[in-house]
Amino acid sequence: MPDAAPVPGASEIVARFVAAPPAGAGLDAALQSARTRLAAARRALAGPTAASAPAERALAGAGLPLRRAFVDATVLAGSPATRADAAIVAAALAAHGEPEILAAIAVGCEVAARLRGALRLDAAWHADAVTARLGAAAAAARALGLDPTAARDALGLAATQAAGLGIVDGTPAGALGQGKAAADAVEGAVLARAGFTSAAASLEGRRGLGALMAAGFDDAALCADLGRRWLSAPD
């Protein structure tokens, strides 16, 4: 972590990107890639979904958006074709209708990809589970059209809930973790829109995600050319 944090900080830069990803060829390519991911997700969700039965029953008393996010992400995490972006796609699906879904998936996948490059997570954490949770929060924030401040609070709520133990990677509990990440993302976005506040520097701060879970935090890998160069949809 650099001593002199740039102004604005990394969390703020990511929040601004989530709230308003700049138009251009990069975004167009990312939306095209999101369309492919969404189609794959819809195929997976149309198939048999026995793996999600415990989640479905355990969340019987929850409201529909949270139940849907949780169950869909659990299903998607169980299929190799959709595993990587399960929580991101499910959060986007639960949070909004069609045109915004694609932008939400694009933004969410980009935030997750950037964080994968920026964080050298400790060995006990499953890196993709941690970064997908932040991507899901970005997707939900984009889908709900949050302003930069609310988006930063939504990302902060996701950061403080970052989890994903290495030992559950590839197990049913790991898939449930993706389900939970998607539901938490939707919850966090709605809370932030309602005025719930969170840390201003949840990713790069002294007691934030990077400091607690990773050996290193590469600010530039997260922020450089964010929105102009898309790692999740290379041109």
């Binding site: 039965a53 415990p54 989640a55 029953r57 355990a58 969340l59 008393g61 929850a62 409201g63 958006p65 949270l66 139940r67 400790d122 060995a123 006990a124 954490w125 499953h126 902060g156 709520l157 950061a159 403080t160 809930q161 970052a162 989890a163 994903g164 133990l165 290495g166 030992i167 559950v168 990677d169 197990t171 049913p172 509990a173 449930l176 973790g177 939970k180 939707v186 919850e187 709605v190 809370l191 309602a194 005025g195 719930f196 506040t197 969170s198 840390a199 520097a201 949840s202 701060g205 002294r206 007691r207 934030g208 995600l209 400091a211 607690l212 879970m213």
Partner: protein, 453 residues
């Protein structure tokens, strides 16, 4: 007991907790658990109209299922998930809840929140509600001790991370689980930790015990459906303890369960500010019995060096800063004769009388004075010098808050919203929880239907 060599620590831990739940709570523990419960119920009611609770109620309206849980101190009902979130949040948001000093866990908020959220669905007897609460707190504290102090030092908010484990135990016991299901709930809860200290100073700090409660319920519900996490989840090199700390001592989870209670070491804050300032505030309250503030020319508070280091702000600009100003606590004690939440409202913090007295007060770091002690020296305008010495602060381990002091604190929290009668009824019903049942406590915690929107 050769605990450290047992495989599957989570299952062994759950078996001990399950056995504990089949016995009556020892009377001193039952009493301590009620004190912890009353304290967090009072706090949650006192904070029931905080903007963060408003946001949680809005989210419950958009995302929640059928209402089944009360929002303490309000008339709205929400589903169990948001009921847990609201209760755990409100109990912690004023930083005035119980503290286990060895771990700095605030165990009451999350376990109380599970009780409030699941009371309707599980209809526990008073005794089983109290047991579920006490054993959940104990589980949470033992999990914390096992990974302390490195865990908190790295930057984790231990009230959230370990709160999830305790909340899962409370939920599982309320739901009547056998030991095998309880073990699944504990293992799943270890995958749902939250709480980074970067969030301190924002609403998200108090979100931690609230969401810990909701996660504990989720872990228990998933366990009830047969879901599970790997057996070595706590001790595995890619598991709970390794991810969250560089220390793991499973003996702290497994040894002497039922004979040694971490919950017995729980403490209660008498004043809503940093704990190191409490001895000086005690001394100022005693001095107030002898002198009025305007007779004082100068005040010197001799205290442990941590006091000026952590709470040295001489002239706080608002209520939040005042919580980190020992000098404000001293001045407010002398001006108002009490130090509660009203003394930390910005308007009170900035009024002339208290500002003037703060300007005449200094902290003197004294390495010879213990953390729970203080000596206050007042020079009066007529030249007289008065002294007050506090050897052990109220609420310290050596001088626990008495029941009467705790009840007075809870009355001050509850009465402004619900009235003095409801405050006394809440205390009475909670102190005779085994006889009255938890429903009676919840009834006392609800406003009369027309009192609040």
């Amino acid at each position: 007991m050769r605990s450290t060599s047992e495989p599957d620590v989570a299952a062994a831990f759950a078996a001990r907790l399950g056995a504990l739940a089949r016995e009556p709570l020892p009377a001193p523990l039952a009493h301590e658990a009620k004190r912890a419960l009353i304290n967090v119920l009072g706090l949650a009611i006192g904070a029931s109209h905080h903007a963060g609770v408003d946001a949680i109620v809005v989210a419950a309206g958009e995302l929640g299922g059928a209402p089944s849980a009360p929002v303490l101190g309000r008339t709205q009902r929400v589903d169990a998930h948001f009921g847990a979130l609201a209760a755990g949040f409100a109990a912690h948001v004023d930083d005035f809840d119980d503290t286990h000093l060895a771990t700095v866990i605030h165990p009451g908020a999350a376990c109380m929140a599970v009780l409030v959220a699941l009371a309707h669905e599980t209809a526990p007897s008073g005794a089983s509600a109290l047991r579920a609460f006490a054993i959940g707190c104990e589980a949470q504290l033992r999990a914390g001790v096992a990974i302390s102090p490195e865990h908190y030092e790295r930057g984790w908010h231990i009230t959230g991370t370990c709160g999830v484990v305790g909340a899962a135990v409370t939920a599982a016991l309320l739901l009547g689980f056998d030991d095998a299901s309880l073990a699944r709930a504990v293992r799943l809860s270890a995958t749902m930790t939250l709480g980074q200290r970067e969030a301190f100073g924002t609403m998200t700090k108090a979100f931690h015990p609230g969401k810990a409660a909701a996660n504990g319920i989720l872990a228990a519900r998933l366990a009830a459906q047969g879901a599970d996490a790997p057996g070595t989840i706590l001790e595995d090199p890619r598991g709970f303890a390794a991810a969250l700390s560089t220390r793991f001592d499973p003996a702290q989870l497994l040894d002497d369960v039922g004979t040694r209670w971490e919950l017995a070491d729980n403490t209660y804050k008498p004043y809503p500010c940093g704990i190191v300032a409490h001895p000086s505030i005690d001394a100022a309250l005693a001095l107030r019995e002898r002198v009025t503030p305007d007779a004082i020319a100068a005040l010197r508070a001799h205290c442990h060096p941590l006091v000026p280091e952590l709470m040295g702000n001489p002239d706080p600009a608002d209520g939040l800063q005042a919580r980190f100003s020992a000098i404000h606590g001293i001045a407010a004690a002398l001006c108002d004769g009490r130090v509660g939440l009203p003394q930390y409202e910005t308007e009170r913090v900035r009024r002339a009388d208290v500002c003037a007295l703060r300007a005449r007060t200094v902290l003197v770091a004294s390495p010879g004075i213990a953390r729970d002690a203080a000596r206050l020296e007042a020079r009066l305008h007529d030249g007289t010098v008065l002294e007050e010495v506090v050897e052990h602060a109220r609420g310290s381990a050596a001088r626990p808050l008495t029941d009467a002091e705790l009840f007075a604190k809870v009355e001050l929290l509850v009465a402004p919203g619900l009235g003095p009668q409801a405050a006394r009824r809440l205390i009475e019903t909670a102190m005779q929880l085994e006889a009255d049942g938890f429903d009676a406590v919840l009834a006392a915690a609800a406003p009369v239907a027309t009192a609040h929107a």
